[in-house]
Amino acid sequence: MDNSGEFKPIERIPHDLLREPLIWFFAEHYRHRDVCARLMALSQSVIFDEAAMRDVYVFLDQDLPLHVIDEEDDLFPLLRRRCEPDDQIEKVLGMLSAEHANDMMDAGAVKSLVARALAEQRGLASFVEARSIIEPFCQQQKRHIAVENAVVLPIARHRLNEADLISLGQRLAARRGLDNPFTDAA
């Protein structure tokens, strides 16, 4: 909900951005931050906002796992192949991969809580555990995204070549059941 009290769904990323996959990652991170802000607000409210909760639930259930695959099975392996010793990338990627594994577990706990709230038609603040589950998850997400934006994506911009970016964009699209963004029709 915004200040007018009207529900605004989580923004979708325009498909054109698949042609610039690193920008897609930045945009996806922006959405993650937005979802965290929405979750924090929901965790402090006893009002049952079904639309907002369902929107966040779908994000955690579908978009977040896809994003982890985008990074774990695509961007990070590409970086491992392209980076130079000076980039000292392995430690950062190793840390982020370990965080991804934890993120998925923490996201599972958040999802379960939201599912319960939806089933019982209660605001999240009415669950005593809401704050202790949601707040650490959101804080961790923000830290994680900050490292990716500040370290990983700038190195990727520097190291990945044109062919890497095209194949990366094609796989981001395919993973979401979308057409090849680099064909003329796209």
Binding site: L79, R80, R81
Partner: protein, 212 residues
């Protein structure tokens, strides 16, 4: 139920004939695949299906952890037949992330005969132990080792006498290293392709990790 498989088969054959009446007549007349696929036995990596090829278009060898072992008679027979008789143009070594064989080679649990089969993967991991242990997350370590295992098989193949002889004869033959993710059904080209001995030497001198 086992009978379901036979029923499925009847439906599959019938659908193929409906779509292309000559399909099986054409298929039985000759086998001329352009590709040899060396992949993992994992049931979630169906070779023909993931590359969209029909029966007859892909010669397939699968084993646990997609190995190209230089002393395995089964593998060597497949390799020689595919190069010298079928005259395939491409050999694809395809690993997959999260490979159970690679995972088993990286842990210390004893499983019996499979440990011997996976010894080359364990040896490879041992050679790169210092680097691999820097990767804190075990799943990621396994995935990196899966990629390295593909590279090692491409290099073994590049040094195999059947392959070397084919290149010496001037036969067109390229070896590629790919990896598949079961999580999204997509293949990744690992940029390991070689089509002459010189390429293999160049590949062998390439660093295995970003930091050397």
């Amino acid at each position: 139920m086992i009978r379901t498989l036979l029923e499925n088969n009847m439906q599959w054959a019938s659908a193929r004939v409906r779509a292309e009446p000559d399909f099986f007549r054409r298929l039985s007349a000759q086998q001329a695949p352009e590709y040899l696929w060396i992949g993992c036995s994992d049931s979630r990596v169906p070779a023909n299906e993931i590359v969209g090829l029909d029966p007859g278009e892909l010669f397939v060898h699968r084993n646990i952890a997609n190995l190209a072992p230089p002393r395995d008679m089964n593998f060597l027979a497949v390799l020689q037949f595919s190069i010298e008789v079928l005259k395939v143009r491409h050999i694809i070594v395809c690993g997959h992330y999260g490979c159970g064989g690679v995972r088993a080679a990286l842990d210390t649990q004893r499983r019996g005969l499979i440990d011997h089969w996976l010894q080359p993967v364990a040896d490879l991991a041992h050679r790169h132990e210092d680097h691999l242990k820097e990767i804190a997350d075990f799943d990621t370590r396994v995935n990196v080792a899966c990629e390295h295992n593909v590279r090692a098989q491409v290099e073994y193949l590049g040094h195999n006498p059947f392959v070397a002889d084919a290149w010496r004869r001037g036969q067109k033959l390229a070896i590629h290293g790919w990896i598949y993710s079961i999580r999204d059904g997509l293949l990744r080209d690992l940029d390991l392709s070689v089509e002459r001995s010189r390429d293999v030497d160049r590949l062998a001198s390439r660093a295995w990790f970003p930091d050397g």
